[in-house]
Amino acid sequence: MTGPGSGELEPRATSLFGDEEVALVDLLDRLLAGGVVLVGDVTISLAGVDLVRISLRALITSISPVERPGTLAARAERADERELEAGRG
């Protein structure tokens, strides 16, 4: 975990060569809720998108170790351990 103030001012690169640096969650914020909305010949129903939003959390949790190695799962695990330790007493 990085301390406060370290590297926070450098914006994440969102350009081609920094693609991996674009957090998937930031990208999906934009791609699912933004963009020119045209009714394509093959459409995703609004209900479908809502469904995506609902299930996104669980899905992203499951894929994150691949997307962003070592961040999410590791942090969640650490948080759980802290929680356990605090409760043990």
């Binding site: 933004g34 045209l38 093959v42």
Partner: protein
């Protein structure tokens, strides 16, 4: 019936022939132009995008992630040198003629959207409440009893609540200041800690459409909050203007 569909990435202006750029599923990116308005497209596999398949696919996050990245790759690459209005993810038509018809029909709307986006880029500002709101987390002795543990836990929760309120207030100040620089703003949902991978709670997730010449002011503004005790400000961008490409979007 053809076994491909035409996937549209963006509406653009003054994009000539595109070469060497690959889109969703690896197909080469092409352009279709009608009266000066260009659609950036590629062929995608019909089976993969037929309606039912698509609904199922959207539940498959690996597919969603790779499609989103491929879509982003195309609009971001073209957006560096051209004016682009990205489309929402997975907009597909039966064939090129259908896309040309849509371009012709929506020509004025698209031109207006492109005019509004010209000379601008999108920036994202995410603000997190600093844990403990500046006061270092206290390394207290292990609670000796269950009651003591619960008291400590309740106190911790109260402290968290007030730290969150302070953080929200500070975030509001940042939002006002960035809004003053921006042409338009748009709120995104706060990202759950599980989604963002951050341990600090998010209190603001906002997109700003900023004139390109004001970028330095934005950076300086964000930098001025670097040592803020209550909040941590994260800047992302420049993005192609995903959050501001909707035709019906009013200026704010």
């Amino acid at each position: 019936m053809s076994d491909t569909l035409t996937y549209v990435y963006a509406i653009a202006r003054d994009v000539g022939a595109v070469s060497g750029l690959r889109g969703v599923g690896g197909g080469p990116v092409r352009t279709l132009e009608v009266d000066g308005v260009t659609a950036v497209v590629s062929d995608v596999d019909r089976g993969e995008f037929e309606e039912r398949a698509l609904e199922e696919r959207l539940e498959d996050l690996e597919w969603l992630a790779s499609t989103a990245r491929a879509h982003h790759h195309v609009v971001d690459t073209l957006g560096r040198d051209h004016l682009v209005a990205p489309l929402a993810l997975a907009t597909v038509y039966f064939d090129d003629d259908r896309v040309r018809a849509v371009l012709a029909e929506g020509r004025e709307t698209f031109a207006a959207v492109l005019d509004r986006l010209a000379g601008h880029a999108e920036w994202g500002v995410k603000i997190y409440a600093r844990k403990g709101g500046g006061s270092a987390p206290t390394e207290e002795a292990r609670p000796r009893s269950g009651a003591e543990y619960l008291r400590a836990r309740r106190k911790a929760l109260r402290d968290t609540d007030s730290a969150l309120d302070d953080a929200r207030e500070a975030a509001g100040e940042v939002d006002d200041a960035v809004t003053a620089l921006a042409t338009a703003t748009r709120a995104h949902r706060l990202q759950d800690a599980q989604l963002s991978g951050e341990t600090d709670p998010m209190v603001l997730n906002q997109a700003y459409l900023l004139p390109i010449e004001r970028v330095d002011e934005l950076r300086a503004l964000v930098a001025s909050y670097a040592e803020h005790p209550r909040i941590r400000v994260e800047l992302t961008g420049p993005w192609v203007p995903y959050s501001f490409a909707q035709a019906a979007q009013g200026a704010s």
